[in-house]
Structure formats: C-alpha cells, structure tokens
Symmetry: C2
C-alpha cells in the first residue's frame, strides 16, 4: 500500500469548439486499478504540455486517436516507479511514456522507456532529451535536409521544439533566423541561442524583417505556427526550398476554420516542397537521436529552456498559455519535486 | 520579301486585376524586324493556350519574368521557317519555341527546337509531345513517384496536362481516379482514357465521390486546380502521400485572393508532402521524355485530346475559356493550316 495522497485525474469533459476552456475539463479522484502482471504504477513528476494536445481533443481524424469525452486527458510524462509487476522496471527506477494528466498511473511496462536521472534531470527527458528534442532532430535533419551555408528560418523559435531546431540548424552550419513574439524572446534567440538574427513578430512586420535579415532568400523553413507567418515566408523562399510543417499553432484555436497558406503556389514557381511528419515515423531511430542530443547537451552546445508551471490543478491554465504563446521554452507541469 | 499578309500581334495592354478581359489586350499590325545573323522568321501555325499565361500577366514574381504592358503576349507555339540566317534551321523546316501571340515572329534560332512533322502533326508538339506532355511526365513520375498498385487522383483530368498525367499513372500500374466537370468529360475519362473511376465535380460532392471511388485512401494526388478540390483530397490522403502541385487553376481568376488549402495540416498527421515543380527543372531531360511520350503515342497507349480555336483574333476568348474550364483537352489556337 502506498502512503501517497489520493490520486487525481484531469478528464476531458467535452470537445472544445474554439480554445479549450473550463467547460472542457473535469477533475476526478478515482482510485487506481491494481498492478497486474506486466504493469507498473508510476508516480508522475512532470507532464509535457504539448501543442499536439489540441489535435487530440477534436473528433477529427488525426495521427492519434481522439481522447473521448470522459476519458483522462492524454499527456506524455515522467515519473518514478512505485510498484511493479514488470521485470525491466523496478521501484525507484524512472520512466517516461503516455502517463495521462494525473498524479499517478498504472501502465503496461512495455509502453514506458526507462530513463537515467543521474545523467540529466527528469524534466529534460520531456524537453530536449525527449519527444521535443526528437521532433526537432528528425524534422530539421531528416525532413528539412539542411546543407552547410543555407539560410534556415524557424518560427516559434523560442518555443520548445523551435529552440532545439534552431540550435541544430546552427550546429549544421546554417545561417539561422528565428521568429518569436516579444523583446525578451528575441533577445533570448540572439544572446542565448546565438542565432544570426531574431524577428519579433509583435513589433516588426515579418515580410520586411525577413527581407532585411535574409535578403538572399530562405532555403529551409521549420514551421511551428502556420497562418500569416507561413504566408510571409513562402513569398521569400528560394528555388528548391523545403518547408518542414511541424505544427500550426496559430491555427489551433479553431481547427474548424484553419487559414490555409494562400501563397502555396510559390511551391510551384520555386519548385519547392512542404512536408509534414510525426514522431511516429522515427520511433526506430530514437536511440540515435537520444545519443546525439545528449552528447550535444553534455558538451554545452545545446540548451533546453523549460517553463515550469506547478500543480495538476494548473493544467487547464498551462494548456491555454501554450495555445496563446505565453510560454517561453518547453512548457512543463511539475506535480512533485523531480529527481 | 514574303507574300504573307501583314503580321499581327496581340499585346498585353494592362495587367488584369481579376479575370483578363477586353481591356487587357490590344492588337497591332507592326512590321517585323529584319532577319539578322542567327535569327529565323517563323510563320506561326499553332499557339499553346496555357494556364501559366495567367501568371505571366501579373506584376508578381513568378517562375518567368512578367510580360510588361505594351509587350507582345508570351506564348509557346509551332510554325514553319520562312526565312533563316541560322544554319540549323532552313526554310521549310518546322520548329517550336516561345513565338509570342502573333502570326509571324523573328527569333534567335537557338531558342527554337526543330520538330519532325512527318512523325506527328505539328499541333501534337504543343500538346502531348511537347511542354504539356513533359509537364505531365516529370510531374507525375519524378515529383509524384507513383508505385505500382497505388491510388492516384488527378484533377482537371480531362484537361491538357491532366489527361496525360492520368494515362501515365495508368501505364505505371496505378489505380487512377480522374476529376473533371460535366458528364461529357467524365465519360471521356472512363471510356477513352480508361481510368478506374471518374468524378464529375459539377454533379457530385467530391468528398463523398472520392470516398466511394477510393475507400482505401489516396497515395498520390496530381493537382491542377487547388481550391476546394485540393482541400477535399487532403482529407483522404494516406500516410506518406505525395501531392504534386502542378497548378491551381481554380485560383487564377484572382491571384490576389488565393484560397490556401485549409486542410494542409493533414500533411503533418499523414507525414505527407506537397511539392511544386516547373518544366525548367527538367530541361536537360526533355530528350528522354520526348522519346518515351512518342513511343507510347505511336503504340496507341497514350491519347492526346486537342481543343482547337481558330484565328489570332480569338486569343482573348480562348484564354478566358481556359481559365473558366470550358475547354476539353489541350487548348490550341490555330492560325493557319498545319503541316
């Protein structure tokens, strides 16, 4: 028997039509099922607040099944094993996987990946050393195929995936222009990530600022936002440019009225491509990405910025922050002190 | 001195804001310059009426320079050499190139390609054996990379490029669904091009008809139209689908208010790509395409449907027909009897 307080779950009560709000969520205090053969009980320490969450709470087809009304909200998390009937994970071990938005979870051990909290803090396995890092790594390198000397633009460049993608582009020998909102984020891009140029879209016109920062045109655009930013970059792509569509967070508020890129015919005139991807395409190459990301991080060549919000009760507010772009860095919900 | 009637030119008087109309064009009867060293004089027999023309008469950046107000309208044509100071083309030879919308042209011989009107009629070198055929060939095969057994959808499938792309998809061992407007075009797709299914978008809802014709989903979409058709197909693409953006004729009426594909985030959920191209990317491979297209045509495996409008004075009407989708097959303007 555990001495933990009563487990708490955040459930999706109903699909939101625009931005999720208080009517989207309900809280429950249901007991956990017993830990049967092959399962473990995990005490969750951190949850990843992820743009993909908006896609999970729509009845529309997506790359993963929708969360159904009444179900515990899906989330990726890390936590400590407190009880186990699965040989490869013992109490005291740490692991990461789809824990859901809850304080404790009973999960099949084979859906979890063991992590080493002596190499890096548990939270890093949800940011640069986890899904966030893999998304940036495979999206930029595999889909975008940057070449040394090319000009790369990254939107939401101070965000979780964008900040890692920007740095990997720099490590690939590219000139990197980051787009973010507000002077603090722009300064972060220039001073901490050491990008070649930063555009503050709240103060500057993106077309003019982009023409000034990259008069030679754009070879590769790593897009996290869609909307007018995507349209502005499309007008300045070079021949054979690649647009990596990682997400479209400017459009997630209302997925029934997405603004498509009206300048998409630039793909024809510039013989360019726009390509999407999901992390599911690269599951078999996670060991490669893990090793490389950890090596860069240990060498001080890659920084992960985390924005931590505290307490399970803050989940609705944290997701709203993410969807309105208020976070700065990878947004994490911390449920208890990490390792 | 030639005994031809006075040469006539169609000039672009001013850039249209929406659909080109009578104020867009003016006619002139200017004498031709003398045929200097390296030049030839061509009597034009046929002109290709091409969707790309809409892009040439906008001040916006495109894959070719804009036609400027007062200039003779750009067009690709075929004709007979009537005078030459260029060794490789002699009077009586036939050639193809950018002749402009005019009855006669004096052009550098090196910008022309000699054609053999004993193998195929002159007009075929503007349709399936010319640019139209090359566009379908490289777009479908090189950009789209069809695999045997895949499901391919082609829009504007009864049109010039679409009808060739559909047939090449069939010759590649794919299941082919063509989309066109009206019962006559739909019957043409089924009965003459022998596609697996035809959708008449004027009578049927594309999403429902597509779900019925290709319940397995779409692997490759060759898009000539953009707009709601592109959005409908995006919702039914399979994982790793390819969308070849050849054109967006539904949007050419008003290039300042293009409707972007609002379902483009399907590229993310399906790990798919959308890629444009121009014929300029493949100039070095024209001999390969010419040989293959001629071989298929001679073997009766490829049919080219031509829609011929007569007389230079019909150019404005012909272009309007093209932009409103009234033509059926490759639209050509015939200026005099061909070979």
């Amino acid at each position: 028997m555990s001495a933990s307080p009563e487990p708490v779950q955040v459930r999706m009560a109903e699909y939101p039509t625009g931005m999720p709000d208080s009517s989207t969520w309900s809280f429950s205090h249901d007991p956990l099922p017993p830990v049967r053969e092959g399962n473990v009980r995990l005490r969750v320490s951190h949850l990843s607040i992820d743009p993909g969450m908006r896609g999970w709470i729509t009845p529309k087809k997506s790359y993963m099944a929708s969360v159904r009304p009444g179900e515990t909200m899906r989330a990726f998390g890390v936590g400590e094993v407190v009880e186990s009937s699965f040989a490869a994970l013992r109490p005291g071990d740490w692991a990461t996987g789809f824990t859901g938005v809850q304080t404790e979870a009973v999960l099949p051990g084979k859906t979890l990946r063991k992590i080493d909290v002596s190499l890096a803090p548990a939270s890093a396995y949800l940011s640069g050393l986890g899904m966030t890092g893999y998304t940036a790594y495979f999206g930029l390198l595999d889909v975008g195929k940057p070449q040394r000397g090319e000009t790369v633009v990254v939107s939401s460049a101070a965000g979780a995936v964008g900040s890692v993608a920007s740095q990997i582009a720099r490590l690939s020998g590219c000139k990197v222009v980051g787009i973010a909102g507000g002077p603090k984020k722009a300064a972060f891009l220039r001073d901490e990530l050491r990008l070649d140029a930063a555009i503050d879209y709240k103060r500057e016109s993106i077309p003019a600022a982009l023409a000034a920062a990259a008069p030679e045109g754009v070879d590769l655009y790593f897009d996290n936002v869609g909307g007018p930013t995507l349209d502005a970059v499309l007008m300045q792509i070079k021949r054979h440019a690649r647009i990596v569509v990682c997400g479209g967070i400017s459009q997630y508020g209302d997925l029934d009225r997405v603004q498509g890129p009206s300048n998409y015919l630039q793909l024809v005139t510039q013989s360019a491509r726009m390509q999407g991807f999901t992390r599911l395409d690269y599951l078999h190459r996670i060991p490669e990405a893990s090793t490389q990301l950890l090596a860069w991080w240990q060498a001080g060549q890659l920084r992960f910025r985390e924005h931590v919000v505290h307490g399970l009760e803050s989940f609705p507010r944290a997701l709203a922050m993410l969807l309105s772009g208020e976070n700065h860095g990878k947004l994490l919900l911390e449920l208890r002190s990490g390792a």
